[in-house]
Symmetry: C2
Subunit: 187 residues, 2 copies
DNA sequence: AAAAATACAGGACAAATGTCCTTTCAAAAG
DNA sequence: CTTTTGAAAGGACATTTGTCCTGTATTTTT
């Protein structure tokens, strides 16, 4: 729980009392390797904080191919964010790549906090903005850089992925096939 | 101004008095075709609402190639959003593709509104979430779909782009070359 | 109206990336 | 310990996409 408290403190505008009230809402859930936090089609009704472990988010193309959308390492927030925002069915599956522990916070509880305390509104806005910034970076890479450059960028900026994530998943995360990733790694 | 009031009303949680107070902050600025709303390296200190006209946002690669990031048609909000969020220099240029009119709102004024009225915090959070949702869609397309599919998707979902945007800009928006876009259009 | 700049299409060829398949190695299961 | 499964590398070939270039309208400038 302390990791989460630290995470919230670092955001900057939450009082200790706010944080304490928030932590009350959490329930710890453990996942075995392969377990799902959410499956495609379900509606995401909770936000999570990964206490330990690694998760992978992926969706299926029309052709039933898996495409890896992102990875989440502890200590970080996790959710099927678009479904959480819209209240519509999730396009993504989120699965544990290792044993994992996650604190789960019901959306209704968070909404109650936001209604009574603008600091939580601010925090939610801050989160959404940070998610946007990450996406803008990714768009830029996907839009113009070659697969080789994208791989080099990943090596530099997210080396933990290379250490912990099977290459088959990294390939689709990068928007390429396993075959091509193998070529890039040999070069 | 009425278009903007309508836009704000449709967001859902703003009172008429909130909207009126907000509109007070705006100044209308006109742009000639080719004029810049912001240039790479500047810090974005204001949010805009496009009253009329079309804008294009673009980056430069290391190789000095232009890459089109997005288009903004009236009536819609516009800004170098990542710079607005972080207060750091903008990676993007935003240029008028046609004559245009934009209502400009200083960031300091918006921050004052947020500090005194949580409805504006909510609105800012809502905006950030909507921007995130758009980006998630684009990531999905870029990550897995072929250029042909991306073009078909654009035809279906954003036909106004095909009607008003030069193909050279659409190509880099789609993450391909003009040559390839020409091929896709012939097919 | 003439000249210059811009936008678009498309040919020829090259490079990047995908598909299909086989092999090897290691990890997990019996 | 053996068997099975899963992950990765890489060969051969096909497809997609990029590069370079030319030609032709069209628009803009003079």
């Amino acid at each position: 729980m302390e990791a989460l408290a630290t995470y919230l403190r670092e955001a900057g505008k939450l009082a200790e009392s706010d944080i304490a009230a928030f932590l009350e809402l959490g329930q710890l859930k453990t996942f075995q390797k392969g377990d799902y936090l959410i499956r495609e089609g379900q509606i995401c009704q909770e936000a999570g904080f990964v206490q330990s472990g690694i998760f992978r988010s992926f969706y299926f193309t029309q052709n039933s191919e898996e495409v890896t959308y992102c990875f989440t390492f502890a200590p970080n927030l996790i959710s099927a964010y678009s479904s959480y925002i819209t209240g519509r069915p999730s396009p993504e599956n989120i699965q544990a790549l290792t044993e994992a522990e996650v604190w789960l916070f019901p959306k209704t509880g968070l909404e109650a906090l936001m209604a009574q305390n603008p600091a939580w509104l601010w925090f939610s806005k801050h989160l959404a903005e940070q998610q946007y910034l990450e996406m803008e970076q990714r768009i830029f890479l996907l839009q113009k850089e070659s697969a080789e450059t994208r791989y080099a960028h990943l090596q530099r900026e997210q080396p933990q992925l290379l250490q912990h994530i099977p290459l088959q998943y990294l390939a689709s995360y990068l928007g390429i096939t396993q075959r091509h990733l193998s070529r890039l790694r040999k070069a």
